[in-house]
Symmetry: C2
Subunit: 900 residues, 2 copies
């Protein structure tokens, strides 16, 4: 048995390589890797010290000792959190600043080209259009080739990662390079794209890489929960150094990435984000862009009378309208993605020429913004930053327009059109930018939607403000002093409200204060943001949640406001009662059957079928390893050797039936039994790849097919192969399957990737026929399982039947669970996974296999059927103890309030 | 058996009334109560509708129907969260505004009195001193009489309540009245006290009362987790409407009250706090105090060049100095409290005259601030608000002082002294106010320390700013333009830093932005606040945590920054291995013994001593009820009846020993066995009451002694009495005992409050002698326990041996646990309570009874002693299943990473 250990481990390792996506397995791997690296690092540092001593021969000994000590001290200090956070902040500030610098150069280059060709409109047009098309195409191609994971915002993925799901290749150096370069090009093109979302991803990448780098020095960087904490801080840094908004950054990152957050992470975030924002702004001062540290889009509204109380209805209107606008934006964005996916003809065409779609979209958008063309009606020549600066201007445009004294200074000139009113320009700007932004954010380049939405919101606010200013030229206030209306303030309110509505956050309010450097409009902004959120949240999910759903990432919907019925649904109403389990004394055949039928990542281990006492849970991979071990070639060879030693009298008593068939039939029988749960998931049906699908999951399938050998000993494990074939790609699917059953079609592939590593035993010849093998395997399957080498999780998370949905949701999101067993006095009675929870929250509690009850059915006293059911089953357990009367729970409705 | 149910329930009810402090039991009670109220409410509303119909006879029928429908609609809407939040916000804004109004009147009255008597200094002094002494004494007396729970800040208590502990009488109407009136008087006296902390408490009171009131209309108000959520929102409202700072309020309340925070609560907080702040400011506009909605302490620093980059070191110095200052303040405050407690002579004297201490402190402070006296050197005539306004002034005092042109306007004049420099005035102000504030906050009136600390911080910042201005009269900037230094900006930074240091929060930064209406100093403020926090957190706990420790409230210390060793401590290093448990087939004697010895709130129920499989946990009270039922009078009477029916032949076979003695001896034996854990807690030792002890826990002991009857049937349960005597006041202690073992001495009282309700059975005469009773009881104790009527918690929270301390802390604080069982493959092997966790975090892992290991001992592989230990014990379980080989965990270091 001991000799087979290495074989089994090799197999496990193979599986890790092949399907290795889990926190646990990766964690082990990371630890080993880190230990290896640390060791080599120590060796290196020792040799370095020696070198130093060698080199310093000439100097005095004291100096040398001092240097070595300093070095040691520094290395020991490297482990401290604050060092890490400062480094992270510094790095991100530099990245942000350099990127801004490059983007500015790109945009200037476009302007210069456009300006230089003003003799010929056609050439001008060509220059105006070609430049962004080239940049976007390059960005899309570069990202696609280097790391397709870098596409898009990154916030949805970070939300998923912070929830505890490990997304493959999302935090690698390649992704970092692809994201940074891709984003710079994308933003340099002048398309309506943002840098905020990608910056969250970049900061997380930075944190992950820095963490990996720092683990060369100290041991704590191996700790996974610490790394998650650091990622949370990194998200804050990302937003913070993007807008020089540390407070808003922390809050925004909390709102978009967490359901629950630890106040200690919030600390880390504040520290790192402040440092990062500080360095970011100091760089600008050093570069002589600014005289001192100020806000990014500094405004200068009057302080003594920022707004009148009677203007509040207008602010409320902005809030409500922007709420609808935000919901519409999210809807439009999703609609475009889904439309592009559904159109098979377009799809097939675009799939072939991957870069065509970005190029076409860019062409369309840049054509429409061409300043001598349609662009003149929508301030097309302004970059995003310039538009925002002009929109937040504290002068009033409309009033001056009425007075025929149009003295726009600098960029504001772009809003002026000889024939057309400034209102028309603003309306056109809003409408055109709205769909352009929604369309542009579907391009597969690294890009965010926050900034475009922010600008649109500001434009809308400005529109309302200008209207108000035109309506009340002398302000509303009636007490003598004239306080004219400040349309810039409306723009601030609008920007915060629309971006808040799209992202479902209130912290955009704080971001605008930090961006503009003025907090005088705090109450209007807060009111508008809250109203916008209230409207948008009741209509659509947030943009990030929408993308999570589109990308089919695992998610757990939020419990909305005031869904009171959620308090009344209990776990027993949603749990799956037909749990797959294995018993302590089960045979390998049982194991085989259970593995064939279930698809949960972990299986419950109970004492016996009678008692059903939950002892722990075992990972699927462990069981597969057990089974492989039992049916593997080494064991069979050992058997052959044994047989050779024994007499030859029981040579060939063949079983009547082809055992492969029988085992297959058996497996089908069992499949039939439980297929209520996942009948839609027919695993062998190949589905064509779809274009525009974010590359998130494809990589694992597309990139690795060559690695999978179909070795010569494929016939060695027939039942095993049967197992792997029947539940294909199980490992890779588990996590997803578990959470997100209607999965992306790319993952439902026929199982061609089975690899069973075999250590050849050269001294015996494998002369068994297939029939003999199947016979031997049948025999092996009847043996009792030896859990000796199996990793058992001794305390899986347990819920009680009466735990409320509200509490279950809290616990799932707090602890990042993907399933929990439901027990009653030690007995396993059900299981709840994310799937059930999600269905229950989203309203369709009609899960197959789950008992559906009306929400109010849980208000029951101790005498109802459920308790009695339990009682009859409990008898079995009880009967072992002198047939005593059963314990009955006294006040059942409160029993769950204490267990958690 | 069924007949005894009502009796038992009556007993349970009694216990709830007597010791009822637990979430669960109160929950049941509240539900019953709410159901009753709702029912009566419905009846009332029906009758009201009828009345309405009666009354509206004259009008048209449509109108009537419409009215009824509207009413119905409104009542149905009342359940919505947002209605509740709006009502809460409105209410709190009104309370805040009215209080501010009253405080202003009080302060004006004092000024008027002081000003009117300017002919005679002595009379002036009398007026100046008497007024605050009377107000403070009234406040202290009123609070003491009406609701001693209203004393102090309230934030520590709210932190405890939000952690899931139910503090008695803390959220009642009486407390509300006491807090509001007490606080108004206390602040009206002009002492250096704040309103912020108490406002958090008042808002929570409001929310609790409103919730109670609203539950008359809808059902959801009964839900406890919803109430906790609403309390969290209420804390935000409290801060928000106190400072008109919604964002800062939300963040501050999160930081001071939570360890983990749900983003959905944060939403509620934002909504309610914004609404509240809005109404609060609108009231000021309506009252013509302000022209429009602006910040409370509006500043008008220049926007274009708020500060120079080279001023940042000065800001950093403010941060670091204020960090030390904050730690010193907390230390000083604690020192004063502890000093007052220790001085027995003073204590005894002050105890007698409860109001003497407040009066003396007030006298001292007001004497020192007397303007013609020492007060002239420390701007003594300014109220707290006036001081703050002058400190945040945007003009520079020192420069003008140098230029001999001293033109202070308005209140600023107070800082000017003919003989003394403004620097001396500021230094004296800081030093005097520092100890005065630390002293004043120990007065037993409703008061906070935030505002005084804020003012001191502002003064310190101003001092640094004025020094800088004197040092660089033309500013630091060298590029031609002269930007003079703005000392007001330094004051803002100082205020945020010191208040941040004292409370250990960074959100004070946001609060100052909202208070001053300017965000231009964001980076200096953030840097100073972070530095101040870093210094203060490494020296002292926050003021609120300090108070929590002084008041001996249950708490869980935070995991500090960068305590890496915490990641390496595992549960097995800190758990108590000697767990009290009961088995399914135990006798009542076992139960009795277990109850006598343990003090945990809940006891583990295992299958049997051999298997140790954890089936659930039972509350102590349940077991006590079981035992009372078994030994209670009704059962004994039934026995007498039975005996009467039977023949008289087994009349008096007395046991040789006095059974009471024997049972007592047995209990002592067991006590000896386990007394390692709590040997310091000798339960029958009476400890004298200590003065100045916050009234938090006394009430339960002091207020109710009259209710406890020593009925005529006291002799009916000797063993029972023994039980209750040996573990006195168990119910009331449990929660505390569990969390906070070195408890406040008031709680360790001899048990005089045992009450066993007895339903008399009139037809039989209780003619048993004490000897007979004990004999009968001995017999009863040998019977097997019938768990029939026992409420079993079927899934208590379980941890694994290898769960890290970090994760354990997270789970405990997330779920508000006070203990968790440690299991290994279903078997109970230990228990971890808050006590152990706290000791482990605070560094002294040398808990008695817990196995102490060096932190790194947990890095062990599968072959070490612990696993083998487990294996040998597991054999017992395993042997029932055909003596198979034991399962062994493969890679033990990762097994815990998946269970939670």
């Amino acid at each position: 048995m001991a000799g087979d250990g290495s074989d089994q481990r090799a197999l496990q390792y193979e599986q890790t390589l092949m399907y290795g996506r889990y926190t646990q397995e990766l964690g082990v791997y990371a630890k080993e890797e880190a230990a290896r690296l640390r060791e080599s690092g120590q060796r290196r540092s020792v040799s370095r010290t020696l070198d130093l001593l060698e080199y310093d021969k000439g100097r005095c000994a004291k100096c040398r000792i001092c240097t070595v000590r300093c070095q040691k001290f520094l290395i020991s200090r490297v482990g401290e959190d604050w060092i890490f956070l400062i480094l992270l902040g510094l790095l991100m500030a530099l990245v942000s600043w350099v990127m801004d610098f490059c983007i500015a150069i790109c945009l200037q280059a476009q302007k210069w080209m456009y300006g230089g060709l003003d003799s010929n409109v056609f050439l001008q047009y060509l220059a105006w259009v070609t430049y962004p098309v080239v940049l976007i195409t390059f960005s899309a191609g570069f990202t696609q080739i280097l790391a397709p994971q870098a596409v898009g915002s990154g916030i949805p993925e970070m939300k998923t990662i912070l929830r505890g799901v490990v997304l493959k290749e999302y935090l690698t150096f390649k992704t970092f390079v692809a994201k940074v370069i891709g984003l710079t090009c994308a933003l340099g093109s002048g398309m309506p794209l943002g840098k905020e979302g990608p910056f969250v991803h970049i900061a997380s990448l930075c944190a992950a890489l820095l963490s990996k780098f720092m683990s060369l020095f100290g041991g704590i960087y191996e700790n996974e929960s610490r790394n998650i904490e650091m990622l949370a801080a990194a998200c804050a840094v990302g937003v913070g150094c993007c807008f020089a908004a540390p407070i808003g950054g922390v809050l925004f990152s909390i709102e978009v990435t967490s359901t629950f957050f630890a106040v200690r992470n919030y600390w880390r975030g504040f520290f790192a984000a402040t440092f990062s924002a500080f360095i970011f702004r100091v760089l600008a001062v050093w570069n002589r862009d600014e005289e001192t540290i100020t806000a990014l889009f500094k405004t200068s509204f009057r302080l003594d009378f920022p707004f009148d109380l009677q203007e509040l209805p207008a602010f409320a209107v902005i809030g409500i309208a922007n709420g609808f606008g935000g919901a519409l934006f999210v809807y439009l964005n999703r609609l475009i993605v889904q439309f592009m996916r559904k159109q098979k003809a377009i799809n097939r065409f675009l799939m072939k020429k991957r870069l065509l779609y970005p190029a076409l979209v860019t062409l369309l958008i840049s054509t429409l913004t061409f300043p001598p063309g349609f662009g003149q009606f929508m301030a097309g020549k302004l970059t995003q930053k310039e538009s925002l600066v002009t929109l937040l201007d504290n002068r009033t445009w409309a009033k001056q327009g009425i007075a025929e004294e149009f003295d726009y200074i600098g960029h504001s000139e772009a809003w002026k059109h000889p024939q057309v009113n400034v209102f028309v320009t603003l309306v056109l700007f809003i409408v055109m930018k709205f769909w352009m932004s929604a369309l542009a954010t579907t391009i597969p380049v690294p890009c965010g939607a926050f900034m475009p939405v922010f600008v649109i919101g500001a434009a809308f606010g400005r529109l309302v403000g200008e209207s108000m200013a035109a309506w009340f030229p002398d302000g509303i206030h009636t007490d003598g002093t004239i306080y004219p209306i400040v349309p810039g303030g409306y723009a601030v309110v609008g920007a915060a409200a629309l971006s808040g509505a799209v992202t479902h956050t209130v912290s955009t309010a704080v971001i605008v204060f930090e961006l503009t450097g003025q907090i005088s409009h705090i109450l209007p902004v807060m009111i508008a943001v809250i109203l916008a959120n209230a409207v948008a949240q009741s209509l659509q999910p947030s943009l990030y949640d929408s993308i999570i759903r589109i990308k089919k990432l695992p998610y757990l919907p939020e419990l909305g406001w005031g869904h009171h019925e959620k308090y009344n649904i209990r776990v027993e109403d949603i749990m799956v009662r037909d749990v797959r389990y294995i018993t302590l004394n089960c045979s390998y055949r049982d194991l085989h059957n259970v593995l064939l039928t279930g698809h949960l990542k972990t299986l419950a281990l109970v004492e016996s079928t009678e008692s059903m006492i939950l002892l722990g849970s075992i990972e699927r991979a462990q069981l597969q390893a057990l089974l492989s071990l039992q049916l593997g070639r080494p064991r069979r060879l050992a058997y052959i050797r044994e047989r050779a030693v024994e007499d030859k009298k029981r040579l060939s008593v063949v079983s009547n039936d082809s055992s492969e068939n029988s085992s297959h039939r058996a497996s089908q029988e069992v499949r039939f039994q439980i297929s209520t749960e996942d009948s839609s998931l027919s695993p062998t049906r190949p589905v064509p790849l779809k274009p525009l699908k974010p590359a998130l999951k494809r990589s694992s399938v597309v990139e690795r097919p060559t690695e999978i050998p179909t070795g010569p000993h494929d016939h060695s494990g027939i039942a095993l192969k049967n197992l792997f074939c029947a539940s294909p790609d199980t490992e890779a699917l588990e996590k997803n399957n578990n959470m997100d059953s209607p999965m992306s079609p790319e993952l439902r592939r026929p199982p061609k990737r089975v690899r069973i590593s075999v250590v050849d035993d050269v001294d015996v010849e494998d002369d068994m026929t297939i029939r003999e093998i199947t016979e031997w395997e049948e025999k092996q399957l009847d043996e009792q399982v030896n859990f000796n080498n199996c990793k058992i999780d001794p305390a899986p998370f347990q819920l009680v039947e009466r735990t409320s949905l509200h509490k279950t949701h809290t616990i799932f999101s707090l602890l990042g669970l993907d399933h929990a067993f439901v027990t009653s006095i030690g007995r396993l009675i059900g299981v709840v996974s994310l799937k059930e929870l999600r269905k229950a929250i989203e309203g369709s509690v009609t899960v197959k296999g789950a008992k559906v009850r009306p929400p109010l059915a849980s208000f029951r006293d101790s005498g109802t059927s459920s308790s009695e059911n339990e009682a009859t089953e409990l008898h079995k357990l009880w009967d072992r103890h002198k047939s005593m009367p059963l314990p009955r729970e006294h006040t059942p409705s409160e029993s769950d309030e204490k267990s958690q």
